[in-house]
């Protein structure tokens, strides 16, 4: 009987994923541009162009950046490859897509380039949905996350920007992080982690590293139950070999700096792009000022992401408070979201989705009242009840929730 139920559940999940995939690609086809008609389109040309360059072109006899030598960025494969404005891997995926299409006789045109983006993006979101399922033990929340993120990404990113492929890199990294045993990783697991960290750090995902650290802790928390401080002690201080994860990050950051400083002028590469947008080296005070402007702009302009975030954060806060042990988690979503939206509003989309799914998952699990033994713990209306008590008790309710209310049964 249990086996039949499991098969039924698996069938339901697969059917739901198939339906969502069909909706994803139907939506892509209906929304995709039918021409290279917007700013990031030119990025695809940078990737296709690599096919016309000699990979083994290392004549530096006239200098590292001589405009008349083959080492110049116009003619050097590697320099051309890493100089995309959205990261070291900006052009790589266009290079790969176009190479594969050409190999199979598929036109290297707008439709197929966007379709490659859509496939990569959906795969990335699917991987992350699987992780949402693993972390929060909820298939419904995972499917919710898949539907929501797929729809939003199609709406937001069906163009020639790099965001879809970053989603895939991100999914791979989170997958490796989920299964990574910080107390004694195998050599293979460590290699996978170093590689995926390098890939993500080389792409625009480098600005999301704090989110990945947070996810790594969440996954480890599920296994070991350590808080943030103890996690640092157990995983990084006691086992200093794990600090090797800093190596690929440092390497990629150095490469970004190299592209910024050495290959051409300041508007090349990811840092060049960031420099153009927000200004590298600006005094911290202006950075905070920009942050304040961003937040106030979101609030007063009623930017929908802000309000969605606030609602998600409130639910999340209540859910976490109900759980009490995860109180430190509260701070991170605010800091992370504020941090990332200051750099790149578009990139804030994914963390927003992750945070929303976390909040929803927490709320869902708490509301269902399921503890580790599967026994009911809290009735469905507990969160609404909390909100009512906040309203009813005024200032005292804060103390109530933090010190008394967490585990109190409702009747």
């Amino acid at each position: 009987m249990i086996k039949i139920m499991r098969v039924k559940k698996a069938f339901f999940v697969l059917a739901a994923v198939a339906v969502l995939a069909a909706l994803h690609f139907a939506s892509v086809v209906s929304k995709m541009p039918n021409k290279f008609d917007n700013e990031p389109s030119a990025g695809a040309f940078g990737g296709i162009r690599l096919h016309y360059l000699n990979v083994l072109n290392f004549d530096f006899s006239r200098g590292v950046s001589s405009p008349e030598g083959t080492s110049h960025i116009l003619d050097n494969f590697f320099k051309s490859a890493v100089s995309g404005t959205h990261g070291l891997l900006d052009f790589a995926h266009w290079y790969i897509y176009s190479g594969i299409y050409d190999m199979f006789g598929i036109p290297v045109n707008e439709f197929w380039m966007i379709m490659a983006q859509a496939i990569v993006m959906f795969t990335g979101v699917l991987i992350m949905s699987f992780l949402v399922y693993k972390v929060y033990d909820s298939g419904i929340i995972a499917l919710f996350f898949l539907a929501m993120s797929s729809a939003l990404f199609v709406h937001h990113s069906i163009n020639f920007y790099i965001i879809p492929v970053n989603t895939f890199y991100e999914g791979l990294l989170l997958l490796v992080l989920y299964y990574y045993d910080w107390k004694g990783p195998s050599a293979r697991a460590r290699l996978f982690l170093l590689f995926t960290l390098l890939v993500n750090s080389a792409s625009g995902n480098v600005i999301k590293l704090p989110l990945y650290a947070y996810f790594a802790w969440s996954a480890a928390y599920k296994r070991d139950g350590y808080g943030i401080v103890r996690s640092c002690g157990e995983y990084l201080v006691k086992r200093a070999a794990n600090l090797i994860v800093l190596f690929p990050v440092g390497l990629a950051v150095a490469a970004h700096l190299y592209v910024y400083k050495r290959i051409g002028d300041s508007n090349l590469g990811l840092l060049g792009w960031v420099s153009q947008k927000v200004g590298i080296g600006a005094p911290m005070v202006s950075r905070f000022s920009a942050f304040g402007n961003t937040i106030s702009s979101m609030i007063f302009n009623k930017t929908w992401q802000w309000w969605v975030f606030v609602v998600a954060a409130v639910f999340y806060a209540l859910a976490v408070i109900r759980g009490r042990r995860k109180a430190p988690l509260l701070l991170f979503p605010f800091l992370y979201y504020a941090y990332i939206i200051n750099f790149e509003p578009n990139s804030a989309l994914l963390p927003l989705l992750v945070l929303m799914s976390i909040g929803s998952a927490q709320m869902f699990v708490m509301a269902r009242g399921i503890n580790r033994q599967g026994a009911p713990e809290i009735p469905v209306y507990c969160l609404l009840h909390d909100i009512y008590r906040l309203y009813d008790r005024g200032a005292d309710s804060i103390g109530y929730i933090f010190h008394e209310g967490g585990g109190e049964p409702y009747t």
């Binding site: 030119a42 016309y52 036109p107 508007n267």
Partner: protein, 174 residues
């Protein structure tokens, strides 16, 4: 005339097909469209974008950068010919912008240009192509030309005439 948008037919690709069918590899094209369209035309024309400061805001030439690459301005050195093999003109801009119209009329007179093609979809003409040579007139239907472009030119062997196509994206010229 509809403004270029997501769902207007891809007349740039059709223009690219016509030009590829009629131009030689070394021909330079005066692509009198707006700047964004010209950068994206690198894909359709197969040649790289070079902004010509000589003609102000109205004219941009698609040309092969001489090899080895010269960082100095080829226009100032007189490398750009006064007469281009082909001129791609926007009827929409011609109708809506007096300065553009005067410039185009002057170019047509000064270089004795002949209309080589209308790039059209049904009753709507999206582009005019003029030539300084004698290719004859042709009406190019967008859907048919686009299909032919995909089958004949959308492959790595024929897509780009030189390896500098896409360089503009490297510097974020958009």
């Amino acid at each position: 005339m509809k403004a270029a948008g997501n769902r207007t037919p891809n007349y740039l690709k059709a223009a690219g097909y016509f030009l590829r069918e009629h131009m030689s590899a070394g021909d330079k094209i005066a692509s009198l469209l707006d700047e964004k369209q010209n950068i994206l035309n690198e894909y359709y024309y197969g040649k790289n974008f070079f902004k010509s400061p000589v003609y102000g805001k109205y004219i941009y030439d698609m040309r092969n950068i001489t090899e080895p690459f010269s960082p100095s301005n080829p226009v100032e050195r007189g490398e750009i010919p006064g007469t281009f093999a082909f001129y791609v003109i926007s009827p929409y801009l011609y109708a809506s912008d007096g300065g553009y119209r005067a410039f185009v009329d002057n170019e047509i007179r000064a270089h004795s240009l002949k209309k080589a093609a209308d790039i059209a979809d049904g009753k709507t003409v999206y582009l005019w192509i003029y030539s300084s040579g004698k290719p004859g007139y042709e009406r190019v239907e967008v859907s048919e030309a686009n299909r032919l472009f995909d089958s004949e030119y959308a492959n790595l062997k024929n897509l780009f005439y030189n390896r500098h196509v896409g360089v503009s994206s490297t510097w974020g010229f958009y």
